[in-house]
């Protein structure tokens, strides 16, 4: 009974994650990208909480709380402050136009389902759908990192990959062991601090967070 419930719940969460990944890719305004990123963090925390309640792994309660604070609140807030303070241009400028990006994204999802096919046979906890979606969200985050010109949208892409990985861990395996999870969270936090440092350097040196401008100026 519990297993069935858990599977259903994770399936719902997985579809939400996929939806948010597409939403992140489709936004034209920087602030809405940020809102969706925060929403992703919250969904992640809720999924963790749900898995914790049903599976009874106590560690996961702590994980859920940490996720909510770090990924649902702290990181989005830091990014929001940077956007406000640095007067970043508010429009998202994709390298590839939106319809094409969406088509690529769709293809990626299909490929992930195909790749995850052989796994169906062995799984006890997860359907292969969940694993496929989890992988797809990782790739969609990468797509976002690749197709955006601004440093800040690249960072959101990077952090959404991290979210997707965390989701994979929770969905497919009830979360990695605590030591690993803490270590990963620590690394992500350090990475976020370094991102902040870089934004300051970039603004001081280039007066812009646009990577085209940075590439251009650094060549001189």
């Amino acid at each position: 009974m519990d297993d069935v419930m858990l599977q259903e719940a994770i399936s719902v969460a997985a579809s939400l994650m996929l939806l948010i990944s597409f939403a992140l890719l489709a936004q034209h305004r920087l602030l809405s990208v940020l809102h969706w990123f925060a929403a992703q963090g919250v969904v992640l925390a809720l999924t963790t909480l749900l898995v914790a309640v049903i599976s009874g792994h106590y560690e996961l309660y702590f994980s859920a709380l940490m996720t909510l604070l770090l990924k649902g609140a702290l990181l989005p807030w830091l990014l929001w402050r940077i956007i406000r303070k640095m007067h970043v241009h508010r429009e998202v400028e994709p390298l590839v136009n939106m319809p094409v990006t969406m088509l690529i994204a769709l293809t990626l999802v299909l490929i992930c389902f195909y790749v995850a096919l052989p796994i169906e046979r062995m799984s006890q906890l997860v359907t292969h759908n969940t694993l496929a979606i989890a992988m797809a969200t990782v790739f969609l985050g990468m797509l976002m990192m690749i197709t955006r010109k601004k440093a800040i949208t690249q960072v959101i892409g990077f952090l959404s990959i991290e979210n997707a990985l965390f989701f994979t861990a929770v969905g497919a395996t009830h979360g990695m062991p605590m030591i690993v999870e803490l270590g990963v969270a620590f690394d992500v936090l350090i990475a976020a601090i370094i991102f902040g440092l870089f934004f300051t350097h970039m603004r001081n040196t280039f007066d812009s967070l646009d990577l085209d401008v940075i590439q251009e100026k650094s060549k001189r």
């Binding site: 006890q124 990959i161 990985l165 395996t173 350090i190």
Partner: protein
């Protein structure tokens, strides 16, 4: 047993304490001395550890959380040795940079602290028994070097560090996905605990892991850790990061960090081989290695910056090692390990020399560097010797390891000889095409006299020469143990 434990704890804590302490020391002269002191302590610790492991065989430490075997203890010694010589080199080098490139004191403090933290990340990665912690350690070492690459805060260095950060981040994310997939299959055997990520347990039960999941995991790990090894086509970050950071950082990036990533990949290959019972993982590694070697050999010809040029040579050699471990016979592994050692020694020696050459000529552009032998014979001959050594001239260790590798290839995939040899020759031509005019000829007017510290360079080259002439008995025994271990315990 307890002796090993003490050595181990000492080795691991030394760089961590050093890093934390150096973060608070303001005087550059003092912090460079302390940096050398801690590196020296780390080397002593790792030598003690190596002797202990060699006598007592491989075992686990601290409740199975760490483990030591012939393979990793050898890399620990190499890492602490190169980091010691790098810290000796960086004393006068960074003083010059501090005076001439107006680097604030605070930046030097960051440099020393991050250097020790980087060494800590390396040692943690080599010794941990947990594949999740291995990932964390590699990420830690990467983050430390990101800050080091952007140390000068020039436009080019910030752009390079950003590129490094982004590509390495993407790569490392894929590696984490691979690790999660392994946990996904192993947790069905070991349950939801740290056991399912413990390498020694995974290796002992490799046959029970699900083959299709392991294969998928390896694909992610290959691309992920391959990015960090600098394999083509994921190598775009490497030349920029090497060219724009301070030279000691280029030396440890090429000489050490790439090794850790390759070490991780080989460990996973051992698991995947056990799970699938085929050589597919090895074939993938051969393909990536060969491709990197060819791309790097060709790209080498198009360079203008001396550090970029030598960083492409690093990609070439990492490719060669990946091919060696991909073939995976004990002889090929032996060659791969030997090549890893001599490449680390020679390449970091070359970067030390290049750093001094660039300071003397006031530029990293190869067209500005001329007449090194007349201007400063030590630097000129150093660069020439180093290039001869890395290109694989006979008395040096690179020749021996390449010769061994080719013998191993003749037994397994003879047709590989042709592309490999072609790649090596093209790279060889590229190296000498650039190095010859830099070393010989008249001294340009813009050259300035510098105080060069060539001792670490000579030590590195002498060791590479020694390894080429005759590998000392215990060391050969050690390589042999490690090589058979990687090949899955088969006899040599």
């Amino acid at each position: 047993m307890t002796g090993t434990m003490n050595w181990f704890i000492f080795t691991l804590l030394s760089p961590l304490t050093g890093g934390l302490l150096l973060a608070f020391i303001r005087q550059p002269a003092r912090s460079s001395a302390i940096n050398i002191g801690f590196s020296c302590a780390t080397l002593i610790g790792s030598l003690g550890l190596a002797v202990a492991v060699l006598q007592q065989g491989s075992h686990e430490a601290l409740a199975g959380f760490f483990f030591l075997d012939a393979y990793n203890v050898f890399l620990i010694t190499l890492t602490s040795f190169v980091s010691l010589t790098t810290s000796i080199f960086s004393g006068p080098y960074m003083r010059f940079e501090w005076l001439h490139r107006d680097l604030p004191e605070q930046r030097l403090r960051l440099y020393h602290a991050m250097f020790q933290l980087f060494v800590f990340g390396m040692l943690l990665g080599f010794t941990t028994n947990n594949i999740g912690v291995l990932w964390i350690a590699l990420e830690l070492a990467t983050l430390a070097t990101v800050l080091l690459v952007s140390l000068y805060r020039t436009p080019a260095s910030i752009a390079a560090a950003w590129k490094y950060f982004m590509l390495a981040g993407m790569g490392i994310a894929l590696a984490l996905l691979g690790t999660i997939l392994i946990f996904f299959t192993s947790s069905t055997i070991f349950g939801h605990s740290n056991d399912a990520l413990t390498w020694t347990l995974l290796f002992a039960h490799a046959g029970e892991l699900d083959a299709s999941v392991m294969m998928m995991a390896f694909a992610f790990l290959m691309v992920g850790y391959g990015t960090k090894i600098g394999l083509a086509p994921m190598h775009a970050w490497l030349p920029d990061a090497h060219a724009e950071g301070p030279t000691p950082v280029s030396a440890v990036l090429s000489g050490l960090l790439l090794n850790l990533a390759l070490y991780a990949l080989v460990r996973f290959k051992m698991l995947v081989d056990g799970a699938t019972g085929t050589a597919v993982a090895g074939h993938i590694m051969i393909a990536f290695g060969l491709f990197s070697l060819c791309i790097a050999a060709l790209s080498l010809h198009k360079q203008h910056d001396i550090k970029r040029m030598f960083s492409f040579s690093s990609i070439e050699h990492m490719g060669l090692m990946t091919v060696a471990f991909g073939i995976g016979t004990p002889l090929a592994n032996f060659a791969g390990l030997l090549h890893m050692t001599v490449h680390s020694l020679v390449k970091s020696g070359i970067f030390f020399t290049v750093g001094h050459a660039a300071q003397a000529m006031g530029s990293q552009n190869m067209e500005q560097i001329r007449g090194l032998i007349r201007h400063h014979p030590g630097i000129g001959w150093g660069l020439l010797t180093g290039t001869a050594a890395i290109a694989g001239f006979p008395p040096f260790g690179v020749f021996t390891s390449e010769f061994l590798l080719f013998s191993a290839i003749l037994d397994t995939y003879p047709w590989l000889i042709l592309p490999l040899l072609a790649g090596l020759l093209v790279a060889f031509a590229g190296l000498f095409r650039f190095v010859q005019p830099m070393v010989f000829g008249p001294v340009p007017a813009h050259a300035i006299a510098i105080e060069a510290n060539m001792l670490p360079v000579y030590i590195h080259f002498a060791l590479a020469l020694l390894l080429g002439l005759a590998i000392p008995g215990p060391l050969a025994n050690w390589y042999e143990q490690a090589a058979t271990l990687i090949a899955g315990g088969a006899a040599l």
